[in-house]
């Protein structure tokens, strides 16, 4: 049968246009909105209501702001805590050590290795040549060792030092109190500044959590969508596969893999991704199963809309509500997983800034409570903020919350 001729033959039988007398006579002045489609950045009423609900949850709203501020600040960690100056003007030339690694030959030395700006020798050289230096507020990076400490590592936060500590430092050949560099939260057991490590550790935790959440959500939603929409055998096989997959003991597999591969940021991400994507599948699948029998999905099918478009345009927005509600919680659990692995020593490679490692140092050095307390409060704050945000998001998307 010739399909192509059909629309034409149908057209022939349809009266084109409307008889003149039936046309609505009151033509509004000017083309009605034909040119200007009011579509800019504007919330739909539904989203506006959600935003209002979100804002109404004061705790969640302020948590979001606080979290965003902390996150954005930590993104610029290099500008807050760094062992290189941000900017040097010297000898008529400008240097940006924060971006570029300069050899020390630039600053009057002759070794040719990367310049160590904290070296007193180089400092004196710059001072003698009237160089302009701009430093970050904290002159340590996450891996900078404080080589002039007031005591053996881990050393106390500088502002906590008392006369006895100063006496001790003077008698035992440590740096004298008056000449110390400030360690706001002390140093860890390898002499690295805790605050600097905290800032970098926060950043890596949040980024890890964010990437893990986004990638695993994308995979999970796609898998759930396909299962829910097509149902039948696809669904059945996929579900059984997921059941088997989730029964694999995650931690042991992680131990085995990390003994074969060096567990860097992306390797860890990959390994955790193998298991975290299943979390959303059930949810999205249920939403799609429910949604595919809605009348407007039937209507779209009757219009001849393809499966792909139906899934993306009609069903996915429905599933997104349930998904979005879960995201902050998934993110907090991702952060927690990374912290736990670091704490156990199976996480990021040694030397990298991580909150889990800080916690495990706190456990090993009970005499230095600033380590454990700092780690504890940071993790607690971060997770609480995420949970508060999550609760507010959940409230905001709650369709029953019309009266409140």
């Amino acid at each position: 049968m010739d399909v192509k001729t059909l629309p034409k033959s149908v057209d022939d039988q349809i009266e084109p246009g409307i008889p003149e007398e039936l046309k609505p006579d009151a033509e509004p002045a000017g083309p009605i909105g034909l040119t200007a489609i009011p579509r800019g950045f504007e919330f739909s009423p539904l989203n506006a209501r959600r935003w209002r609900n979100f804002k109404a949850n004061k705790r969640g709203f302020w948590s979001l702001w606080l979290f965003l501020v902390l996150f954005v600040l930590s993104l610029g960690a290099e500008f807050i805590a760094n062992d290189r100056p941000l900017f040097i003007h010297f000898d008529g030339k400008s240097f940006f050590p924060v971006f570029v690694t300069y050899p020390d030959t630039e600053f009057g030395d002759d070794l040719g290795t990367a310049a160590d700006y904290r070296d007193p020798h180089l400092q004196n050289f710059l001072k003698d040549h009237n160089a302009t230096e701009i430093w970050a507020p904290i002159r340590f990076s996450y891996n900078t060792i404080n080589d002039r400490p007031p005591s053996a590592f881990p050393s106390k936060p500088t502002w906590l030092l008392n006369a006895a500590d100063c006496d001790f430092a003077a008698k035992n050949g440590y740096s004298k109190c008056g000449t110390l560099e400030y360690n706001w939260l002390g140093t860890d057991d390898q002499g690295r500044d805790v605050l600097a490590r905290l800032i970098y550790g926060f950043r890596i935790s949040v980024l890890f959590g964010l990437i893990l959440t986004i990638v695993s959500s994308v995979i999970g939603i796609a898998a759930g969508a396909v299962q829910g929409y097509f149902g039948g055998w696809t669904d059945l096989l996929f579900q059984r596969f997921i059941e088997i997959w989730t029964s694999v003991p995650e931690l042991y597999l992680l131990l085995i893999i990390s003994s074969v591969l060096v567990p860097g940021f992306f390797v860890l991400l990959g390994i955790l991704l193998l298991f975290s994507w299943v979390r959303l599948v059930g949810l999205v699948r249920a939403e799609f199963l429910r949604g595919r029998n809605f009348e407007y999905i039937q209507a779209a099918r009757a219009l001849g809309v393809s499966n792909k478009v139906i899934m993306f345009r009609h069903l996915l927005p429905n599933a997104m509500v349930a998904t979005l509600t879960f995201l902050p919680f998934i993110m907090s659990s991702s952060v927690m997983t990374l912290t736990a692995l670091d704490f156990l020593g199976f996480g990021l490679p040694p030397g990298s800034a991580s909150l889990g490692e800080l916690l495990s140092q706190g456990k090993a050095n009970v005499q230095a409570p600033w380590l454990g307390l700092t780690g504890f409060f940071t993790v607690a704050l971060m997770l609480s903020l995420l949970i508060f945000i999550g609760e507010a998001v959940r409230d905001a998307f709650d369709p029953r919350k019309t009266f409140a």
Partner: protein, 542 residues
């Protein structure tokens, strides 16, 4: 008349939402005397259900509150009772029957347990005494073979039987007042007639008062002695049924009484080109049993249907629920798989793949029953209507599509300026117009109308019928009109197909069939729909 049972004085109900107050009911007053049936009539959103719920304090307090008024029942003000005191009233002195029998029974408990619970709560009856009382009320409401039914779960009962069980639950403690909140709206016409007859009979026998909430004036005339008409939260007219029906004072009441759709069906077109022809169409759903999923039988939703439709005609398809009407519509559009040839404009559709079907989808459209469910809540009206254009006219510019959208919105009588809004901003009738606009924007020649008026208020139904007929005349459309509402079908259909259990019972010219139905089944359907009369046993399915 005799003693007062319930007296509502100056009752207002307001809802707080997002800092705003919405007044749902505005200072209404009415009385119900003992043994009387009072009907509360109005369109959806008029506040009639809220009024009923407030009598038993079932509203979502504290979001809902009463700025004024009192509800006096046996000398006490129900609104002033605390939670514990009102619980003693609920289900004992005043009980309520809801609209949806599917969801108002707990699916996990047997009938016996659910009725027994109320007896235990208010009378402390257990064991044999409770069972005896349960059997008594089940017999009262006409459940056949009540002893075996005690152990049944709600899903094992039909819709009508479930509603009977609901009524039995409400009657268990011999209430003084029964509130029936649209108890028949979700039921078939035939079952509706039975339930009405039952309620009327029970009310007379038990001498209880009945507050009957409905939007259907036919029912009011059948059951009530007095009626109050509500509109926008106010009672606009009240009085005895005879007075209000014979001499309505308020314009709204007059409009309601005249809301019957005007019969003006499209004439049969025996010589017009054939649009659709099915032969022996079958939709059988297999029933499988056991581990190997062996097919032990079939649910025959459509069993050998031969349908012909000529251009410009409206074929009305009527029957009880479960008779396969909607399945037929969906099978023709190939939304569900079927067997047997379906010829559309002489082209065979059966066996076409999804992509091959697409060119036909443009000229075959469907409008669904539920205007709330058939529009995607996350798309603007313009996007909803444009969707089909995007599929079938991919080369059209956005501007041309917009023009078509505007044209189709005008066609269905909506202001095109509204096209950037979202479905939830529209009323049920407007939404149904949008759904029709989505269908007509593709300039189809054949539309399946699957109960397009069932979810709408009476006044809107009449408008919808006018709109559909108008569109049909202008565009020479062919309709397959599926409905259980025979009044609407009578106003629209040129030919009629009466279905029962997936088969055609009777077919032919609509006017002739309405005048002179040949089978008992058809006669029973008509009697139930037009006169609310019950049929003798065995004629209808339930």
């Amino acid at each position: 008349m005799s003693e007062l049972c319930l007296s509502v004085r100056d009752l207002s109900i307001a809802f707080r939402s997002g800092g705003r107050e919405t007044l749902a009911v505005d200072r209404i007053s009415f009385d119900i005397t003992k043994g009387e049936c009072m009907a509360l009539v109005g369109e959806s959103g008029s506040g009639k259900s809220v009024t009923a719920l407030s009598i038993l304090k079932l509203l979502p307090y504290p979001a809902a509150h009463h700025p004024s008024g009192s509800i006096l029942f046996e000398g006490k003000d129900l609104l002033k009772l605390n939670e514990k005191q009102i619980r003693a009233v609920r289900g004992d002195e005043i009980s309520i029957v809801f609209q949806e029998p599917m969801t108002s029974l707990n699916p996990l408990h047997t009938i016996e347990k659910q009725i027994g619970e109320i007896l235990l709560l208010h009378r402390g009856l257990t064991g044999a005494a409770a069972r005896a009382r349960t059997l008594e009320v089940l017999t009262q409401v006409g459940i056949p073979d009540p002893e075996t039914r005690l152990k049944s779960y709600p899903h094992q009962l039909s819709g009508g039987q479930r509603q009977r069980v609901m009524i039995a639950m409400a009657l268990a403690n011999e209430p003084d007042l029964l509130i029936a909140d649209e108890p028949t709206t979700a039921l078939d016409v035939t079952v509706q007639a039975q339930i009405i007859a039952l309620l009327k009979d029970l009310q007379a026998r038990l001498n209880m008062s009945l507050l009957f909430i409905t939007h259907d004036l036919g029912i009011v005339r059948k059951i009530a002695q007095r009626v109050a008409v509500m509109k926008d939260g106010k009672i606009v007219e009240k009085g005895t049924v005879e007075k209000v029906f014979s001499a309505p004072q308020h314009p709204y009441t007059q409009a309601l009484l005249n809301a019957e759709p005007r019969p003006d069906p499209a004439p049969p077109q025996p010589n017009a080109p054939m649009v659709l022809e099915t032969k022996d169409l079958k939709v059988w759903f297999p029933i499988t049993r056991g581990f190997m999923r062996k097919v032990v039988g079939y649910v025959k939703a459509c069993d050998g249907l031969t349908v012909t439709l000529r251009q410009g005609e409206t074929l009305g398809v009527v029957g009880e629920s479960g008779s396969g009407k909607s399945t037929l519509g969906r099978a023709i559009l190939r939304l569900i798989s079927s067997e047997g040839p379906i010829a559309y404009m002489g082209n065979e559709l059966q066996g076409l793949k999804f992509k091959e079907m697409r060119p036909y989808r443009r000229s075959m459209q469907i409008v669904f029953q539920d205007p709330y469910g058939s529009l995607s809540p996350r798309m603007s009206v313009a996007d909803i209507i444009k969707e089909g254009l995007r599929v079938h006219h991919p080369d059209m510019t956005e501007r041309e599509r917009d023009e078509r959208v505007i044209q189709s919105l005008r066609d269905v009588g909506l202001n095109p300026e509204m096209r950037f809004r979202f479905p939830h901003e529209f009323s049920g009738g407007q939404r149904q117009r949008i759904a029709i606009a989505r269908a007509v924007v593709l300039e189809p020649s054949f539309i399946v109308l699957d109960e397009p008026t069932s979810a709408l208020d009476m006044l809107i139904q009449a408008q919808m019928v006018d709109l559909l007929r108008d569109l049909q005349k202008r565009h020479n459309l062919t309709y397959l009109f599926i409905s259980h509402d025979l009044r609407v079908v009578a106003a629209m259909a040129s030919r009629l197909l009466v279905m029962k259990h997936g088969q055609v019972v009777e077919a032919g010219d609509a006017a002739e069939l309405f005048r002179n139905p040949k089978t008992d089944y058809t006669r029973a359907l008509f009697a139930a729909a037009f006169k609310l009369e019950t049929a003798p046993e065995g004629v209808i399915a339930q």
